[in-house]
Each structure stands twice: as C-alpha cells, then as structure tokens.
Amino acid sequence: MKQVVQVRLQRYWDIRAAGNFSFGGTGSGLILASALGFLIGVPSVLAVATGLGLIGLGLFCVWLEIGRPWRAINVFFNPRTSWMTREAMLVPPLMAAGAAAVVFDIRFVLLAALFAAGFLYCQARMLHASRGIPAWCQKETVPLILSTGLAEGTGLFLVIAGAPPAMVATACGIAILRELVRELYRRGLVKANAPAGTLAWFSWREEKLLTAARWLAIVLLAAALAGWNTAALGGLLAVATGWGLKGMMITRAAHTRGHVITHTPARGRDPSHVVIPS
C-alpha cells in the first residue's frame, strides 16, 4: 500500500540563518579569492575587509536568530562533534588573520584564507549534518555550498578589486563548476526520493529565473574573458544567484522527512501490508 508521506517545511531556520550561509559563504569565498588575488598580483585590502565584514554580518544574523543570544558563548563547547562549534571556533583566528592582512601586511591573507576555507567547509558540513532535512543532508550539499561560496567570493572580488583575467577565468570556471554540482545535487535529491516539496523547488518560476541568472553570470564572465567589460556585472550576478540559491535551500525547500511506516499493523485477523512511501 502507498503512503503519501506528509512532510512540513522546517521553520526553525529562517532568512536569518540563510543570511549566515549567504554572507558567511560569500565572505569566506571572498577571502579565498583575495588570497588568490594576492598570489596573482592583485592584492586587495578592501576585498579582505569586505570578506571579514560579510562573515561578521552573517554571524550577527545568527545571533539574532538564536533563542538565548546572551549565552551565545556556549557555542564553543562542542568542537568534538559539532560543525557549528567548529565554524565558530574558526572565526577568531580568521578575523585575527584577516585583520592583520588589512592592518599590517596583506600577506596575512594567505593565513586568513586557510581559516576561511575551514569556515566555508564547516558551513557546508553543518548543513550536511542536518539529518532531519533531506535537502540539506544530501551528500552533494558539501560541494554545492563550497562551490557557490567560491563562486560568490570570486565574483565579488571582480566587483571590488578589478578583473584580472586569471581571476575572471577562475570565477567563470567556478561558476560553471557550481552549475555542474547543482545539477548533480538535484539528481541526487531525485534519486534519494526527497520530499515532493523539496523537489518542487526546481520547477519554481523563481528558481528558473535564478538558473537563467546563473547562466547569464557565466556568459558575462566568459564575455569578460573575451574582452567585454562585463566581469563586474557577471561577478555581482554570481553573488546574487548564490544568495538566492541558499535562501531557497534554507527557507523554502527545507522539508522534513515526515513520518514513514514500513507496515500497516495487523488489526485482529487482518493481515498487515507492506507500506511504500510515495
């Protein structure tokens, strides 16, 4: 017998949580891009500072969301298993290294990038560890969050610090990679029989527009490689579409697993039946 599984959209994490993943993702991506920029001869203090600011903004969003903000310090208590703790623990060294890069020596950006990479990875693993939400605990979530963070970071770098061809090429390449990962992610969800509400995400008009915008970002970045003055616009679009993607992933596609039974009970002399979720 078929069970139409009743799921619901999680409401615990709202646009404020999405803000952390968006700003934190872009910020950490931007610091990584700044490190790359430094290595290819385009150092940008402003980019590093912006990256730090975005990470701080993201954390502020989270602070606004938690139920007991005045004991937020407790977030550091579980590095053993919690990716949220780990994410939080990377923030002080990241901020310190970033500040050093801004204030003292831009070379500290390499150290900051190390922490930023960890921060971004923690964010990805944080979502992946959310086993109540199929849209998040899909295995392709980690590459998706990483690739979009990098796409956003490199894209924003193009806006802030100019568009050296190597960075444009990197941004374009990562944007394409993000698109590939996003498609793998979608297929993974379909294969995993994710909730209908989650899968419906991919047919929403907003998602179709976003997808078009992501492709437009790729086209604009490719056009910039061909000499057109579209790098900044492409970069900006890469950022905005990344935020859109995560915003939807966190607040609108995040359906629960629902409650699934495997058998109907035998009521007296009634034989039980195998139940197939649909």
Binding site: R267, G268, R269, D270
Partner: protein, 920 residues
C-alpha cells in the same frame, strides 16, 4: 504507607475521583493538587484490577484542569437585563448575589406551585433539559431529590439526538433483550460485524481496552460504514456503504443465513426454545392461540398437533406449514378471531419466506456493496459462531457463540433504525448468540427497573416472553392528551412511562411544535420555567437557527452555566455551579453499564471536591438545598433523599442513616449519609464507609457475578423466550394506536404507523431524505451528497468545546474542525486540502476547511463533532462547521420511535472563507 501516600506531601496530593463526562463512563482518575491548585490528572492505578479500563480516564479528563481554570467561566450569579431574546440581542447580563438569584427563582417556582404545576393544556409549567445521555445526573448533586419533591416536570425538550444517542436501540433493544445499549461480548468474541459502531471513539476507555486486547487475541472486526472512522481504522476490514442502507445489507445477511446456508449452521435448539420462532401464525398475521388459555400455539412434532407453547415435554416444530383445527387470535382492541382448520405456519417460516426477496444482489443495488462482499460477511458470521460449543463461567455451563453484530448511532436513529435493530437482534438469535458468552449483549436498562443489574427485570410476562410495559393504546387507557410536550405516552407505546421514558420520546417534537403545532393537536404553550444544565441544544440539535428561535420564545430560563454559550444566551438567570473537580457526589459504578462497561465489581465511587470552586461557584447540592428551603419544599426534599432519590435509600434492613427532614443540611452531611447508606446497602449493613473514608479511598466495591453479564441464564431458568423474530404484539399495538389517532382526526403520524410490522419491509429508507428535498421544492440533483457526522473523542458531546487543550490535541486527528470528503471527488471539484468549502442543504449552509481523504465514500461528506459556536468563548473563534446547522428537523424524517438521524442531502462548493459563520 502506600506508594501513593508516599507521593503526597503537604504541598502536593493526589485526590481520587472520577470522570463521567460521557455515557461510556464513569472512569477513575486522580487529580494532582499542588498548593491547592489542580495541576494535572492521573489515572488511578490502584483501581486497575477493579475498573475494566485499568483505572484510566480518556483524553477528555485531561482537559478538566483547563476547564476548571478557564478565565471565561461565569464566576457569580447573573441576571438578564434585556427582556428581548434572540441571537442578535445582547442579554445584558449583570452580576447579582446568590440570594437575589435564588429568591428570584424560588418566587417563580412558588408562583407556579400556587397556580398548579400543570397548565390548561395538561402540560407541566416547568421544564428541564439535561445534556448527554443522563450523565449530567452525576454532576447535579442532590437535584434529583428536589425534582422528586417538586412534582411534574417536562423533560421532553431534547438537547440533541442523532449522534448523541442510539435511540431505536434504546427502545427495541430494551424491549427484546433488556439492552438499553448493545455491545459485543468483546472479551470472548471472535467476530464483530459493526455497522458504524464507533467503539474507538465513543466506547470509552473500557471499550478501547477490551477491543485492543481482542485484536491482539485475534478477533476479526468488520466495520461497515461510509467513512473510515478510527474504529474502521482499527478493524480488520472496512466496507464502505452508502448512508442509511445498512438495513438492506443486514436483511441480505439474514437472507444468506436462511436461504444460502444449510439449516445446520443455525442454532436450532436456541431458536426453538428461546425465541418465538415456533409460534404458529394464522392467516390474519396474528398468532394462533389456544382457545382456552389464550397462549400462543406451537406444532408439537411428537404429537403432530398444535399445543400451547409451554406444554411440557413437547418438541416444537421450528418451521413448516400446518393446519390447526381450532384456535383463536387476539386482534387489536381485544377483538378475538376464531379459527377452524386454519392454515398456519411458524413464525420462523414466516420470516424465511419474508426474507426470500432480500438477496445480496437486491441489497447490492441499494447499498453500493458488491453481493459477494455481503455473502462474505454473512458467511464469516456463520462460520465463526461455533454452534454447539459451550463455556464454563463461574461453574455454570453456557453456550459460547463468539459472534456479534453492533450498530452505530446514525444507523440507530430515524427511518431504517427499526429494521436495523430487528435484523441485528435476529442475526444474533439465528446462531444462538443473543445474550450468551461471546455474543451480542445488552448492557443495562433504563426503561425497566434494575439500573444496577438488569437481570432483576427478567420477569415472566405475556405469551412466554419477559414482561414489557408499553404505554397503553386501548380505547380506555390511551393518553389522547399529551402529558409532556413530546407526547411520548401518546405517540410512542414502546417507550413506556418510567422515569427515563419522557426523555426518550420524540426529543425534537417539542421544538417543532413550538414553531407550529400539527393538525388536530392541542396548541402547546412554552413552559413558564425552563432549567438547563450541561446542555446546549442551540448547537447540539438540528436546524440550529430554528431551534435558537424556539429557545428565545421561552419566557423564563434558568441556566446552570459554566461559560456563556449559545443556549444560555437566552437565559434570565445564570447560576455558576462548582464544576467537575470542585464538587462532591457519590456515583454508582460497576455491574454492566453503557457502552462497554462490563465489570466484575459493583459499588460506588466519589466524585469529590479536589480544589475550591473558582469565583463564587457553588456545589449543586448546596444550590439545590437552598432552592428547597426557599420554595418551602425542604421536608419533601429531605424525604426524597431519605427514600433514595440520589443514591441508596438511607434506611435499610440493618441500618438507618436517615436525615432529619425538618432542616436544611449542608452537602457534606448529605453525602456522608449517602456514602454510609450506599456502602451498607452493598454489604447488607456489614460495612459502613463514611464520606471521609470515601474521600481517602475514592471507591467502594463488592464482587459482581460474571454470569450476570448475560441474560440467557435468567431466561433459561424461567423458561422464557426472546420476542423474536415475529412482532405480533407491535403489529397489534400499531393497529390500536392508528385507530386512536384516526379517531382524533390525526393523520400526520400515519407514516410512522407503517413501522409497526410483524416482519420489517424495506421501504427505500435513503429515499426519504431525497423526498424531503423534493418536498421543499428543490431538485434532488442539486444536493448530490450525503452529509453525515461523526464524533471525536475530544468532544464526546461537545461540552468541552471551550477547552483549548482538546482543540490542540484534536488537531492531530484528521478531520478535526473540517469537512471530510473523498479525495477523488475533491479533485473533480477542484478542492484541495485546506480550501474553504461550503456544505449547503435545503435548510442552511455551513463552512469549513476541506479534508480530502481516501477513506470516505465518494457520495458522502463528513463533518465531525458539533461546533459552529457563536457565543461559547474560545470555541466561537475556531470557525468550525457543523452538520447540525444544515440538518433538517421535520416530522417526515421522524420514525415511529420519534427519532431522526444526522443525515441530510447536501451540495458542496469551494468558497473564499468562513463567511458569516452559522448564519443560514
């Protein structure tokens, strides 16, 4: 020190008490009281071996704490300041003192007493209505003694019928086998065929526990009903059926037993010896009787001749056609017909031949169930009956027939209910399963005496049957003039005239007659004084708009009021009574009770004051005593208590706890005496437990014999028969009633008279509701669906609709506050879950959110519960629909017992929102 005592501290204690908020009770519970505040309810685990529900109350009990501390409670007496009454009138209630309230009421009553309790039309000037199935009696303290002292009161204004009552079962069940309500012997049965009995919702904790145990044991329950209720859910099979076609299904089952299975599969000795099957029926349809003794004749196979049924040593023929040389028959009005060489057949043969036409193929076209499914159910029934098997209970060997047929409320109400009751009971007799272990049992009696043990009512009567007290229909004794506004003695012979009879008459007729009296009927005036307690007919009855207008015509209403509600909106005086956890009363428990309370103990339990009343609410016993004092009835009132009006008589063989009659007693004194007398009565005076003892222990019981669950042994011991299958007496009574009514020029009851048949004829039962649409000048095709209702456990009879906890947990169950319809049908109508839809009948419309489900017959929509409140705090903001709003209240849909059903033809459409709520 017991574990429970160890848990009591100075600040926290557990108070044993009971819940009797529905007819499936009472059930034990304990109130957790912390610093004088009730904070929770717990089961009374110490009663697990006594109470068949393991000492646990149902979900509603957990709402009693919120009920107690509801800030919307009326906390002091109030009076109306706006003389105009109506839904749109603000009553202008203002607080008054208890003295002013009681003096006002007493003055009214004394005025009535001075002018006579009966008005010019012969009807009581004072009326009273109480809610759900007599359960308010367990909350009204000593008020029954006041009513007894006062004199005639009209109890006929019904609080609601349909979903709250198994009306036809009450009347026919008690007539045939002392079964005010009917149950399967769940602890032993192997198969239950249930036509809509909603055990898992309305059976109370005892039924739920017994059926759950039975499921694990391996019982098979086949649930036949239009929608997949919780009971259908917990059954082995669900058979969707069109509403009001159950009788066709059951007649077809009997057909299968009589025409498609060998006779050896029936319980021949049972039919021959314990039923009227062998009685000989003459050519005029009446029994052929012995000319000398007047006793019905049977054909003795040994002697080859007709002899009186109780002739020793005979072997009556179960079936066959015979010629009887000399006999008489008793016709209507004591007319006697004489017969010579008369052709005769047995009652059983009459049934066999009558049922020939009702094949499964015939029924299939009516109820929408495939013929093979009907045959399957019938064959399961026969094959599980274990004909010939016995069981020993308490040293007595009894037949074991582990099959039962039970009926739900809509099946048991209105047209078609007689046929269903007859078929169910006959199905039981065919396999010898009526009133034997494992079979179909009655629970208790209300129209007969013996509320504590129905077996005492098994006394020989006419024709080898148990005695039955029908209302007289003879020319001399028939009550041409109604003595109550529902005319139960005039119109419904089978309801009798015991203390409960009036309330079991045609409960909606008084309301209908307030609107318009029928032809040749005395014009009825509204009662001058109407008292209501734990009832809200303005929501709980049909055609609520019409009913609300009728209530507004009542000149003086005293409402014992918990919060404002739709009925007490019309009241003149509101009196706040101490509620469930705040007042004291001794309540009988044990024995066999509605709905599935089969105990191995009997006794009394105390509903005690666990916390002080909120506001200035007072114990109902205090209110009553004050009224008795102020109306000058104190002596009669005390005498009534002494006589046993609120428990056991206070004086017995070995004890005397009588109260002095010349003075008012406080509630504690009264209940102390009742506690002592009741416990003494249970033990022949050997044990006397006072109020203090009862407060500590909660209940007192003595053993109740398991064999007393079954009527069969008493019948067998007295060589009596069940008056089945042939209804000779009812046919005669119907004929007499028709003559009486016609002599008065009354013809508006003729359809109802057609129900007095010796064997039921199918008469297109569902078609009556379609005809009602046509009669209203509308097109049947415009109302293509059946609207029905169902209860939910959270709102047994609606009296806790203002308790938020019930609403919250109710939301976990589908359909709560919504309108259930078949998902496929919803799809065709473009309706998705949560859409607002409107259900409209020829009466009115109601709106709610759609709940499309697979488990609903495509021709049916279901509106659970009784809601659409417009005054009750909290409930009024829920915007819930109600079938009552759209259900017709009419004479044409009233059956011979005076009942109607929660059934109505409706249409459904999608709408924008809740609209104007209950307004038609």
């Amino acid at each position: 020190m017991t574990a429970l005592e160890a848990r009591d501290t100075a600040a926290r204690k557990l108070v044993p008490t009971l819940c009797y908020n529905c007819v499936a009770g009472p059930d034990f519970m304990q109130v957790i009281v912390e610093d004088g505040v009730a904070t929770g309810i717990e089961p009374n685990h110490s009663a697990a071996g006594v109470h068949p529900g393991a000492g646990r109350p149902c979900v509603r009990a957990y709402g009693l704490v919120q009920k107690t501390y509801n800030p919307h409670r009326i906390s002091q007496p109030m009076k109306r300041t706006n003389p105009k009454k109506g839904r749109d009138e603000d009553p202008g209630f203002v607080p008054i003192s208890w003295d002013e309230a009681l003096d006002t009421i007493a003055a009214r009553l004394k005025d009535i007493m001075s002018r006579g309790l009966i008005d010019e039309a012969g009807l009581p000037r004072v009326a009273a209505s109480f809610g759900h199935g007599g359960t308010p009696r367990s909350y009204m303290g000593s008020f029954p003694a006041f009513m007894s002292a006062f004199g005639p009161i009209d109890f006929s204004f019904g609080s609601g019928q349909g979903v709250k009552c198994t009306h036809s079962e009450h009347l026919y069940g008690e007539y045939w086998h002392r079964a005010f309500t009917v149950s399967s012997d769940t602890v032993l049965t192997n198969l239950v065929v249930s036509f809509g009995s909603n055990y898992e919702v309305t059976g109370g904790v005892c039924a739920v526990r017994r059926h759950a145990d039975a499921r694990i044991r391996g019982v098979k329950r086949i649930q036949i009903e239009p929608h997949l209720s919780a009971t259908a859910a917990c059954s082995a099979e669900w058979v969707p059926i069109k509403p009001k076609t159950d009788a066709a299904f059951m007649l077809a089952m009997i057909h299968v037993l009589l025409h498609e299975t060998p006779r050896t599969s029936l319980d021949i000795p049972y039919l021959r010896d314990r039923t009227s099957s062998p009685y000989l029926v003459g050519p005029n349809g009446y029994y052929l009787r012995d000319p000398q003794s007047g006793k019905p004749l049977v054909w003795d196979e040994k002697a080859g001749r007709a002899v009186p049924h109780d002739t020793p040593g005979i072997v009556p023929a179960l079936e066959g056609h015979f010629t009887v040389s000399e006999a008489i028959s008793h016709l209507a009005d004591k007319e006697v017909a004489r017969h010579e060489n008369a052709p005769a057949h047995t009652a059983f043969t009459a049934m066999v031949e009558h049922l020939r036409r009702y094949s499964p193929d015939w029924a299939s076209a009516i109820c929408g169930v495939k013929p093979d499914k009907i045959r399957h159910v019938a064959n399961e029934y026969v094959s599980n009956a274990c004909i010939g098997q016995t069981i020993e209970i308490e040293g007595r060997t009894l037949p074991l027939r582990p099959v039962a047929v039970t009926l739900g409320k809509t099946v048991n109400n209105g047209w078609g209910a007689f046929e269903c009751c007859w078929s169910r009971t006959v199905l039981a007799t065919l396999v010898g399963a009526l009133e034997v272990p494992g079979g179909t049992l009655g629970t208790t009696v209300r129209l007969n005496k013996g509320h504590d043990n129905r077996l005492v009512s098994v006394v020989p009567g006419e024709d080898g049957f148990m005695v039955s007290s029908l209302n007289p229909t003879s020319e001399t004794d028939w009550k041409a003039k109604p003595t109550g506004r529902n005319a139960h003695r005039t119109l419904v012979p089978i309801v009798g005239n015991s203390a409960w009879s009036q309330a079991l008459g045609p409960a909606h007729l008084p309301w209908l007659f307030m609107d318009k009296s029928p032809d040749e009927w005395p014009k009825q005036r509204a009662p001058e004084f109407w008292l209501t307690f734990r009832t809200n007919p303005a929501v709980a009855f049909w055609d609520t708009a019409k009913l609300t207008r009728a209530i507004a015509q009542m000149p003086f209403i005293v409402a014992i009021a918990y919060t404002f509600d739709e009925t007490n909106h019309m009241a003149d005086i509101l009196l706040p009574d101490a509620s469930d956890l705040e007042s004291t009363q001794l309540v009988p428990i044990g024995g066999t009770k509605f709905v599935e309370q089969f105990w191995e103990h009997t006794g009394v339990a105390l509903r005690q004051k666990a916390v002080e009343p909120q506001g200035d609410a007072r114990d109902f016993t205090w209110i009553t005593t004050e009224l008795a004092k102020r109306t000058g009835l104190i002596e009669k009132y005390n005498a009534a208590i002494n006589r046993g009006a609120i428990g056991s008589p206070l004086k017995g063989k070995n004890y005397d706890f009588s109260l002095p009659t010349d003075q008012a007693h406080d509630p504690e004194t009264i209940w102390d005496a009742v506690c002592k007398a009741s416990t003494a009565a249970l033990t022949d005076g050997k044990e006397v437990k006072d109020l203090a003892w009862m407060k500590e222990h909660g209940y007192f019981v003595v053993p109740f014999k398991r064999t007393d669950w079954y009527l069969y042994p008493s019948l067998a011991d007295q060589n009596l028969r069940f008056e089945l299958p042939y209804q000779e007496r009812l046919m005669r009574v119907g004929e007499e009633l028709g003559r009486r009514l016609h002599a008065q020029g009354i013809h508006w009851w003729d359809e109802q008279l057609s129900e007095y048949q010796p064997l039921p004829e199918w008469h297109d039962v569902p078609g009556r509701w379609v005809k009602a649409v046509v009669a209203a000048g509308k097109k049947p095709e415009d109302f293509p669906f059946w609207g029905i209702t169902t209860k939910t456990m959270f709102y047994s009879a609606g009296n806790n609709s203002g308790v938020p906890l019930m609403h919250e947990v109710g939301q976990n169950v589908r359909g709560h506050g919504g309108i259930i319809l078949n998902a496929g049908v919803a799809g065709k109508l473009g309706i998705v879950a949560g859409d607002w839809i409107e259900v409209r009948s020829i009466v009115a419309a109601t709106r709610g959110r759609a709940v499309p489900v697979q488990g609903c017959h495509p021709e049916t929509i279901v509106i659970p519960g009784q809601h659409e409140h417009w005054k009750t705090p909290f409930a009024k903001d829920l915007n819930f629909p109600s079938l009552n709003t759209v259900t017709q209240m009419s004479m044409e849909l009233t059956d011979a017992t005076g009942s109607g059903a929660d059934v109505v033809r409706v249409c459904v459409r999608k709408v924008e929102g809740p609209g104007k709520g209950a307004r038609p």
